[in-house]
């Protein structure tokens, strides 16, 4: 309980403290320190979950529950939060030196960074579906000012689009949440249940079979469109490339690495409820089928869009849509193997993608532009950045021996077992995405650098750590992690893989 409290309170207090810190340099260090503290707390939390099982707690009337599924996402969130804050400190100093951010903007930036971490951690740990919604909406509010931080017309347009699309989308998710509460109105939660038990995920899950299937079916459609907007599922993905390309690069890293995961996490939680409710009806796999459909479409469309990108950050945001589509598909497919693969893919995708965005930030500094055509000859100008980009893209494209290969291999195997004919579009999609990434990558890394291109001061520690972890996960998944993911799989599907 103390660990849980610390995990949530550290970013909360951090956000308040950072709003008061006037000097950007001090803000950067404090931001880093708070992120480190959050990671320590998250590690402690994971340790107590591993030893004692679910951690349950209450704070100002909100129920929290940490189980095997969300604890690994909590650790991942805190970890990516820390490494990105390591990268963000010198990066934002550079941006400041160029005069692109006003002085107060740095205070907003650091404070909102921690507010965003707070919303992510609350969304993951809470047991209350209403609070989950409030936190996911809060994440939009925290990041929208960061997307428009540079105050260029493009940035303002991207932020407005992000605000409106995600705000409206998430409103649908609230309607779905209300319908879920409505479906649970006549369910008897037992004499000991607290008031408002119809919004508590764990009590809903325990009584899922009693939920009205007709209402749950309609509720899930609203939830899918609502949280799906945040996951970046096609056709609700329009905000994602804009927000990623116009905001500061550390923001792109945490949006891709964390926010999308949390939205997908919410969808999976609801899918578990809907599956329980529909089990006895004529269409028990409705939720899974919807997820598979949306996932496959996103996966394919994003893969095709990779080919025509001209902005490096847009390129990798489409790659994020592609991978989120793949995970959505896998969770929809269900079954222990696919779910295990999807959980692993969530982990390796977050690590790889945030490493890539960090590298891309440096690459854009070297070239002085985000245009793919302007970025040339990275390996010759600054080998560390060039090689990191090359290795990162190889990893995200699914080359062995990296972790993404392992998870994609598991997903393909699972698809082959359950729906053999769907393997074909998956393999084709992977090949299209691979080609789309490499046709842009090759000249950026190997081409001739323009005259006078100078290396920049780059902090490659986060990249090395992330890619090292992804490599490790590809070579051998450590036993404790496999057990951990296995417990999450067991929670989601009811049967274990190992």
């Amino acid at each position: 309980m103390t660990a849980l409290l610390l995990t949530v309170l550290a970013p909360l207090l951090g956000a308040l403290a950072l709003a008061l810190v006037r000097t950007p340099a001090a803000g950067g260090w404090l931001n880093l320190a708070i992120s480190a503290l959050t990671l320590v707390a998250a590690g402690w939390l994971a340790w107590s979950v591993a030893l004692e099982g679910d951690v349950v707690g209450r704070l100002i009337g909100i129920g929290f529950r940490v189980d095997a599924f969300n604890v690994y996402l909590v650790v991942l969130t805190a970890f990516v939060g820390l490494t990105t804050s390591i990268f963000s400190r010198p990066y934002m100093r550079h941006v400041r030196a160029e005069g692109r951010v006003y002085l107060g903007g740095m205070r907003v930036y650091h404070s909102m960074y921690q507010t965003f971490m707070l919303t992510m951690l609350v969304a993951l740990t809470t047991d209350n579906l209403g609070v989950l919604w409030v936190a996911v909406e809060g994440a939009t509010l925290a990041t929208v000012l960061l997307v428009s931080l540079y105050r260029t017309p493009e940035a303002i347009e991207a932020a407005w689009k992000y605000f409106i699309l995600c705000g409206v989308g998430i409103a649908l998710a609230l309607f779905g949440t209300v319908l879920t509460y409505f479906a649970a109105q006549h369910v008897d939660f037992g004499a000991l249940a607290e008031p408002g038990a119809g919004l508590i995920w764990s009590s809903l899950h325990a009584h899922a079979a009693a939920l009205d299937p007709t209402v749950m079916r309609i509720a899930f459609v609203f939830l899918l469109v609502g949280y799906g907007t945040k996951v970046g599922l096609v056709p609700m993905h329009q905000w994602l490339p804009d927000a990623h390309s116009e905001g500061p690069t550390p923001m792109s890293a945490v949006l891709s690495g964390l926010l999308l995961n949390v939205a997908l996490y919410a969808l999976v939680r609801f899918k578990m409820l809907v599956d329980g409710s529909l089990a006895a009806t004529a269409s028990p796999h409705l939720a899974g089928a919807l997820l598979m459909g949306f996932g496959l479409v996103s996966f394919t469309v994003a893969g095709l869009f990779l080919h025509r990108q001209r902005d490096i950050k847009r390129l990798f945001s489409y790659s994020s849509i592609e991978h989120m589509g793949l995970m959505t598909f896998a969770f929809g497919l269900g079954g222990p193997l696919a779910t295990f693969g999807a959980l692993l893919h969530m982990l390796v995708h977050s690590l790889t993608k945030s490493a890539i965005f960090v590298t891309v930030g440096h690459a854009a500094h070297i070239a002085g532009s985000q245009g793919i055509e302007k970025i040339r000859g990275l390996i010759r100008t600054q080998p560390a950045v060039g090689w990191s980009l090359l290795i990162g893209v190889a990893a995200i494209a699914g080359f062995p021996p990296f972790g993404v290969f392992t998870s994609e291999f598991l997903l393909l195997t699972a698809t082959m077992q359950a729906q053999p004919w769907l393997t074909l579009p998956l393999v084709t999609g992977l090949a299209i995405a691979f080609a789309g990434l490499f046709r842009h990558l090759h000249p950026m890394v190997y081409g001739t650098p323009p005259e006078g291109q100078q290396p920049v001061q780059a902090n490659m520690i986060p990249v090395v750590v992330h890619l090292g972890l992804v490599l490790w996960l590809g070579l051998a998944i450590p036993g404790f992690l496999a057990q951990w993911l296995n417990r999450a799989t067991q929670l989601i599907t009811g049967s274990s893989l190992l």
Binding site: I60, G61, I62, E98, R100, N128, G130, V131, W133, V134, E137, G138, L141, V144, L145, S148, R151, T152, P153, E154, I156, E157, A158, A159, W160, K161, F163, I164, G167, V168, A171, L174, F175, V178, L179, Y181, F182, Q185, P195, G196, G198, L199, D212, T214, V215, I218, D242, S245, E246, F305, R310, D311, A364, H365, A367, G368, S369, Q370, G371, K374
Partner: protein, 232 residues
């Protein structure tokens, strides 16, 4: 069970909810910005009234609190903020006629019919009350969407956004007797913060494109050149 057979208080709720829906139509068709803000304030007041009546009829204590909160937030604070911003942007006399008003209204009618059809199988036959209310709230939400699509002016879009929130709140209060207090507070907080941010954006958009016509925010697209080449 037909509507006249319902208890009086429930009939009152249905009547108020119908007025909320009516105001959604007013919002959709109103071309004067200031009048649209007034219509929105009335809608908020009606939603608060629905909450109060549900609180009385079900004797739910925490709903009295949320009725007050809704009245304060949706009928007073947010309209007042919008009013101030509209004055600050010198848009008091701004009118923005719809392109095809009759088409928009027909589409809204279609959405109301769709909502009733969608809700039909969801609620058992004897619950005429819940069914009507859910259908109305869904219609208010969907008309809010429609408004955001057909209106190009940023303030009008925000009104659409806020009326979506009204519809959601109506659904939560009347179909389920209100969400738990902590959730309601959280949602209210989010709405308030969103409103403050919208205010910031009105000025930022105005600064960048010299208008609040968000259709002119069209620099970012798949085929566009990379703008601002010198930016890292």
């Amino acid at each position: 069970m037909s509507l006249p057979a319902l208890p009086l208080l429930q009939q009152l709720v249905v009547l108020l909810a119908a007025l909320v829906l009516f105001l959604s139509f007013v919002l959709l068709a109103q071309s004067r910005l200031v009048s649209a803000i007034h219509a929105f304030a009335w809608q908020g007041a009606l939603v608060a009234a629905v909450t109060a009546v549900v609180a009385v009829s079900g004797d739910v204590h925490h709903l009295y609190f949320s009725a007050g909160l809704t009245l304060l937030l949706k009928a007073l604070v947010i309209p007042a903020m919008l009013h101030r911003q509209v004055r600050g942007l010198a848009l008091e006399r701004h009118t923005e006629p719809l392109q095809r008003p009759s088409l928009a209204i027909m589409a809204a009618v279609g959405l109301v019919i769709f909502s009733s059809w969608l809700v039909l199988p969801m609620v058992a036959e004897e619950l005429a009350f819940t069914r009507n209310i859910l259908a109305i709230s869904l219609a208010v939400v969907l008309i809010g969407f429609l408004m955001m699509v057909v209106r190009q002016q940023a303030v009008a879009q925000v009104l659409g956004f806020m009326s979506i929130e009204n519809g959601l709140f109506l659904a939560a209060v009347s179909a389920t007797g209100g969400m738990p207090l902590i959730v309601e507070l959280g949602v209210a907080f989010d709405v308030l913060v969103a409103m403050v941010l919208f205010g910031v954006f009105f000025f930022q958009i105005r600064e960048s494109i010299d208008s609040l016509d968000v259709d002119r925010l069209n620099r970012l697209s798949e085929t566009a050149e990379i703008a601002g080449e010198d930016r890292p």
